[in-house]
């Protein structure tokens, strides 16, 4: 990869990270406020408590796993000194 390709790739990865953040915000709303009225309990706690905490956390871990596997790629970080 040359400097330009690395920059493009890094920009793509940063944008994908931002996109994952938006997905997680939507999931967080859905798994918490969205399920708060559902009258289902699991181990004595309302469903929304499980989905919005443990569920959201596991969803985030899965999202990061997908992100680094699909979008992120390995590159050489040593690009030499300043060049004009």
């Amino acid at each position: 990869m040359n400097d330009y390709e690395k920059y493009r790739q890094v920009r793509k990865e940063a944008a994908a990270t931002g996109l994952l953040l938006l997905v997680l915000i939507a999931a967080w709303i859905l798994l918490g406020f969205g399920l708060a009225q559902v009258d289902v309990e699991l181990f004595g706690l309302p469903l929304w408590v499980w989905t919005s905490t443990v569920g959201f956390w596991l969803f985030a871990v899965a999202g990061v796993a997908v992100l680094v596997r699909i979008v992120f790629c390995d590159m050489d970080l040593e690009g030499g000194g300043p060049r004009g």
Partner: protein
Amino acid sequence: MGEGRLSALAPLLLFMALMVAIGLFVRRRAAHGSFVAQYFIGGRDLGGFVLAMTTVATYSSVSSFVGGPGMAFSVGFGWVYMAVVQVTAIFLVLGVFGKRVALLARRFDAVTVVDLIRARYGSDTLAALSAFVIVLFFCGTMAAQFVGGANLFATVTGYSYGTGLVLFGLVVVLYTAIGGFRAVAFTDTCCALVMMAGIVLLLSYVLHAGGGFSAILAHIRAAHPAMLTPLADGNMPVGLYFTQWLLVGICTVALPQSVVRGISYKDTHSLHRAMLIGTFVIGFMNIGVNFTGILAHGVLTGTPADYGGVDFVIPQAIVHALPPALVGFAIVGPLAASISTISGLLIVAASALVKDVFLHHAKKSGREVKPRTLRRLSTLVTAGLGTLVFLIALTPPSLIWLINMFAFGGLETAFFWVLLFGLYWRRANRLGALFSMAGGTAVYCAAQYFGLKVAGLHPIVTGITASLFLFLLGTFLGKQEGEQNRFLFFPKKG
């Protein structure tokens, strides 16, 4: 000191001895290569696991382990729902800035975030302002960690506040000054592991002492039904959720103590691993410790006020739920959160003074600094800064926890747009960055001081909005400067 329990002190003494041993070991091993790069960034060779742990441990402060769960005890599961937004903090900073700053730092031989800001905007004024903001706000945050840790120590062990402060406060300053960033990274890793073990230990004993999960929940359902709803009878307004997403979620991407970790790892494979491990660990800690705070209703029957406030809920839960022989082990976890944050901030604050101010001006005026002088100066400045904060904590201001959150928001306001636009927007220029950092921080401080809350939201919303507006204004009014560096930051095709 005589009235305290020695059994509660022994595990902490052992842990602190281990931290100093790591500092000494690292100092001996790091005798090769550039001293500045070794001392302030650990030689850029951290692996994925250590990178994840040091980022999490520096981010997770004593308030995550004491004040947060205390609030969860008071408010209920809505607090856990709010706190869990922090699972985004690690992958966000490493995903957005991790590779970008790693590439640029190698290109410009940068070892600090201020180095990168200076290279990008070509402004000594902006660099000096960045260093000033870092030192100022970091000192506030460190003082809060010292006070929180010493209070916890005094409550649980029976020894005095001063004894706690001397015991863990001076030790953290000592090992950070001796071993630099590398010692911070390795001790942070130990601290993060100890924090996780501490949560498991406390949670299991709280469950046992409270008669089990079902019994504690039945009690909560009968006595505090609002704790099972997200809005908790108005104690958790939607506006609070919104501002917490900004304050401890999205805007943490620009915290200098987190961004600098992007300069410290060895290869991109390590970065990818750290994003995954860090997200897992920070979620485990946040959910585990806040659930523990709520389940403490099984062992504490009063209100937080009965125990001296929300900050004393977890210390009291430790005392009530654990057998005396294990109290000392349970306290090591929260204190590890405190010392790992102090060490992480201390080394960055010292680098701002030594590398960004002293060395830069020495180089500019053509003065050569001998390696031996530099080594001594770095150690002395780190120790001096730590000692200064230690002295502040000896007579703590009464609003120390507010100072902690104030500093968090101040750093985010100062650096969010300067870093984000600086690293990803070609048109961003120095006037915009100066306006944003100086003006945004001033607006944020004024909003805090005058209690200005637009639509009832935390002043971070006002600060970050003003900072954005001022950046855009400065960028459109200012000139495009430093074309050579701009090309290096934003390479063109071909």
